[in-house]
Symmetry: D2
Subunit: 132 residues, 4 copies
């Protein structure tokens, strides 16, 4: 199953961040967050703000489970572990649905910086759509 | 101890989100995130995007421990639990430093929507500044 | 609402640990874990093993939401933050249901050691009983 | 690097649970928790108590980073996601050190039940040993 990519376009917050969908398969998504000067930690800094990484983790985990449920679902909880600072440049995130149950779905997310280094890992729990 | 409020101004990401510091005391901070149309879940939606709440949790936790350490410190990990959807309108976040040790600091964060309802709780672990 | 305290007695793992219910109210529970020599970090050590604290957090969070749902429910995820080492002696844990929704319940847990110091905080998400 | 397996023997809590080390390599450990009747959810139940899974996650994550640091280190925080109920029988856990930095180490843990099904995933942050 997949989700309709137009769903991303309908999200003002995703447009605000200018996040783009690179690919989606069953249980797997890849997103890219193009670099903007507003994303660095301090003016002229070489490193990205942790909140930018968090925003990408959130969107990626949500759509990873969306590939299983057919559309985006509400986040129940989200966790992000920062492994090393992210260099200025585009971020790429890979999300995998590790579970898509009747009550909740669980996603694992990896974020890499422009050099390809793993800068953060995330895990999120999402509410399954109610069966009608 | 407190941190220099200008530190917030020097953060392009905080300016991008337009988050404002309402008050700071030893171990306590309050931030406000003024509503913007870009923050809703879908065009014209009544509810805010979870990533907006996450961004506010991140900044609030960081500065809560900054009141103890004297300046912002790197996030080690961050967790957000969404308790109910946040209505369109300003968000207010309260952050408390529950620990400021030699190795790490820990912060608890509460986010309320414009109606005053608790919409999310967060907890973050931050690296203590290295002693010189 | 409350749960039947006999439910705790019917849990072999709770008996194994010898955890006892101190009190329960709507949305609130208190448990005590009596000290045993098997709970220290190393033979003769002055400090308790983190896994013992984790076990108490787990049970306390589960029964905190059980006061709202009427019986124990499956854990979806659990997080424990260790704030300081726990001294040898009894542990006491206080659990609060911060949410008891249709899909999930959320509990906050505080653990104190024999001296009354806060040694750990926990947060858990639990699956709501299916309506039927 | 590895840790001295006798360290596990010196832990009363590990002996109490009767957890055994299956193997260790640099950054990787495998543990087995032999089934005991005390570990089930209710008398005669077919499923293991979540707290038993949590205890195994805790020990496995700690020793995964210990392969990098040379000895066990204090847990800063620990998270466990339960993916499906664990059947009665032995549990096996695999732990990987995903980071071993100067301030903290991070471990990922997978727990499988006797049938080989993935029943839980965990992630822990541990304090790096202080450099003398």
């Amino acid at each position: 199953m997949t989700f309709d990519p137009a769903e991303l376009e309908r999200s003002p917050y995703a447009r605000f961040l200018r996040v783009t969908l690179v690919r989606q398969e069953d249980g797997l998504v890849e997103f890219r967050l193009p670099f903007r000067e507003e994303f660095v930690r301090g003016d002229g800094a070489d490193w990205l703000h942790g909140g930018v990484v968090a925003a990408l983790v959130d969107i990626t985990g949500d759509f990873a489970v969306a590939t299983r449920y057919g559309s985006g679902v509400p986040t129940i909880d989200l966790r992000i572990d920062y492994l090393r600072p992210a260099r200025r440049g585009d971020l790429v995130a890979l999300g995998r649905a590790v579970r898509a149950g009747r009550t909740v779905g669980v996603a694992d997310i990896e974020v890499r910086d422009a050099r390809g280094d793993l800068v953060a890992v995330g895990r999120g729990v999402y509410a399954a759509p109610r069966q009608g």
